[in-house]
Amino acid sequence: MTDTAPATVPQLTPAQVLGALGAALRDGGIRVVDLTQTLSPEFPQIALPPEMGQCWPFRIEEVSRYDERGPGWYWNNFSCGEHTGTHFDAPIHWISGRHLPNNAVDTIPVQHFVALACVIDCHEQAAADPDYLLTVADIEAFERAHGRIPAGAWVLMRTDWSRRRDPEAYQNFDETGQHTPGPSSEAVQFLVERRDVLGFGSEAIGTDAGQGYHLRPPYPCHYFMHGAGRYGLQCLCNLDLLPPTGSLLICPPLKIEQGSGSPLRVLALVPGV
């Protein structure tokens, strides 16, 4: 991935950039937006056919709450899968990325956990069609309006799917499986090969569409992104609060040895109003 330092502040040294950033964060010139769903037992987890291994949902149990189990303190134990809630996908998650170097959450260069983001707005299409697939034409239209997607940036697909607070509507299953929006196979290949993106982020439960198993190849976003050493973010929210370009994502996953992903807090720095 190539260097994408903004060209608008050539007169500042890196130390001055950080100083200015700190000052802007303090005075509201730059705001921090939380793109994370709250981890709770009610938040749905990905559902695979029951004979397969399953991702654990988030579960939490009290250790003590100022009671006989611990008189002066409150704390919990929790359990979940690496792919529970708002989470990060590392290349090792997919068979296409399993032999790449630095492909797990503990070995990915930390520089990649802070990067610019572009937000492609598909919320109207997703409202009309839950199975909506982001197309190359959508990407080209975005670039005509907002400029070329810089190399090394996240591309986030805004669908407003996270506004479906009812887990049943969020999962959106029928007898043919899940119906949630995602990228087309061609769009993923375009982003990887032609735009050299850092990764792809979505609001639904996977980076791939609910019916992604029936695309060619199955689950193209997982297959191509991870096969090229790129990352995934899913179960994001508040993408409607981000500008189309010019936000900075901070999204370091937990440092799990050979971890395929992890729940995480995703923050975006955006220009203040």
């Binding site: 037992p41 749905p44 939490i60 887990p167 969020y170 007898e175």
Partner: protein, 416 residues
């Protein structure tokens, strides 16, 4: 003639909820044979192996020939009423609160004479009766006389209802309504006259056939309940535990493999999490509320039903991890029974053979139809049973297990 039970009026909320006073419960060890048989719905009496005398009450030796060679043997219970009396006074708190109470003397065709609790339709000396053993509110066997032949509405008799857990006008929680068995249970409880059936609804995004039709029944209310989530159990208990009269825990995970056929422990852990810890979570949250309402009017809190498996008694290696989780649940259910019994709540453990469902798809018949199992559960509640082994497979395994668990273990290892 028994008057049909009318829908109980709503309770007066300014009055204290009556608390349970158990009937006399102390019995000698020898009398527990009567209780063990009654728990499975049988009248068994001691029969002398030397002189053939049938005796009651239980003793250490034969009342006729003083032989110690006594065996518990099933009895038909056929007999005639000799005399009846009505109790209008008692110093025992249980009976004092339920006066008047009818008692009688019955001569069995098999010989013994018994003092029994009398059904209201047994009135005239000389009348034919069927004597059976029932567990009373203290969980100990008592003998009762029923009219023979049966009479209309006889299940609504005051004495008989005290001995059972009839779902009629009761409020029931079925912990998982999504499986074929869960749906059959809900329909069976509705058919049995349950007032309300709350139906647990985990992972609401998973659509399963038949579920929508179930929720259309007027008695049915779907409630979010995931027994793997302590908070979900606690929240539902906070909402409805004070009204539930019968808890039916049928939530289970069942995977068809042993140790070597599946890598890792995730599936086995899911089985334990639902089949064992799920019961523990439910019992911790719903148990206290049930205990507090065990004398709350004619439709008082009455029973806790655990859907276990005949595999709980002996491991079936092709479904080995499932069997282990059911054995754990069985052990915990024994603990639950011991804790609920002093409050007068009956814990019913059901040990079916393989149910005809997706996880037993590869097992040859006979398999228990979900409807048949659901009917057996409701019947067990009506009859006041504690241990139920529905279906041919369960009955056969139970018999072999009682003969010799070691022999059964080897037979099951060879494929059953």
């Amino acid at each position: 003639m028994t008057m049909p039970l009318m829908r109980p009026r709503r309770k007066n909320p300014v009055l204290r909820t009556p608390q349970m006073n158990l009937p006399p419960w102390a019995r000698g060890r020898v009398a527990l044979g009567l209780t063990a048989a009654a728990a499975e719905g049988r009248l068994e009496l001691q029969v002398c192996q030397d002189c053939g005398a049938v005796q009651y009450p239980p003793r250490e030796a034969c009342h006729a020939c003083v032989s110690a060679r006594l065996r518990w043997r099933a009895q038909s219970g056929a007999g005639r009423l000799l005399a009846a009396t009505t109790l209008h006074h008692s110093n025992d708190l249980f009976f004092r609160e339920r006066l008047p109470w009818r008692l009688g003397l019955v001569q069995l065709d098999a010989g013994a004479t018994l003092v029994v609790h009398l059904h209201g339709d047994v009135t005239a000396p000389g009348q034919p009766v069927r004597v059976t053993a029932r567990l009373d509110r203290a969980g100990r066997a008592v003998v009762i006389a029923l009219p023979d032949p049966e009479t209309p509405h006889m299940a609504d008799d005051k004495m008989l209802r005290e001995m059972g857990c009839d779902p009629k006008f009761r409020k029931v929680l079925v912990s998982d309504g999504k499986t074929p068995l869960g749906q059959a249970l809900v329909r069976a409880f509705v058919a049995a006259g349950a007032d309300i059936v709350w139906v647990g609804h985990a992972e609401p995004w998973k659509k399963l056939p038949g579920f929508d039709a179930l929720s259309a029944l007027p008695q049915v209310t779907l409630v979010p309940l995931d027994v793997t989530d302590g908070r979900s159990v606690a929240e539902l208990a906070g909402e409805i535990a004070g009204k539930v009269d019968i808890v039916v825990n049928n939530a289970e995970v069942h995977r068809a493999h042993g140790i070597a056929a599946r890598r890792g422990t995730d599936a086995a852990r899911a089985e334990m999490d639902v089949n064992y810890f799920g019961l523990l979570r439910l019992a911790q949250e719903f148990g206290p509320a049930l205990k507090g309402r065990s004398a709350d009017g004619v439709a008082h809190a009455a029973a806790w039903v655990n859907l276990l498996s005949i595999y709980a008694l002996a491991n079936f290696p092709p479904h080995g991890t499932y069997a282990a989780s059911k054995a754990a649940a069985h052990s915990l259910a024994q603990c639950l029974r011991a804790e609920m019994r002093p409050a007068g709540i009956r814990v019913v453990n059901v040990f079916p053979g393989p149910v005809d469902d997706e996880w037993n798809q590869n097992l040859p018949p006979p398999k228990l139809a979900p409807d048949a199992l659901a009917r057996a559960v409701v019947q067990a509640l009506k009859d006041g049973l504690e241990d139920v082994y529905p279906g041919d497979v369960a009955q056969e395994w139970l018999e072999r297990w009682r003969e010799d668990p070691r022999v059964l273990e080897r037979e099951l290892a060879a494929g059953g």
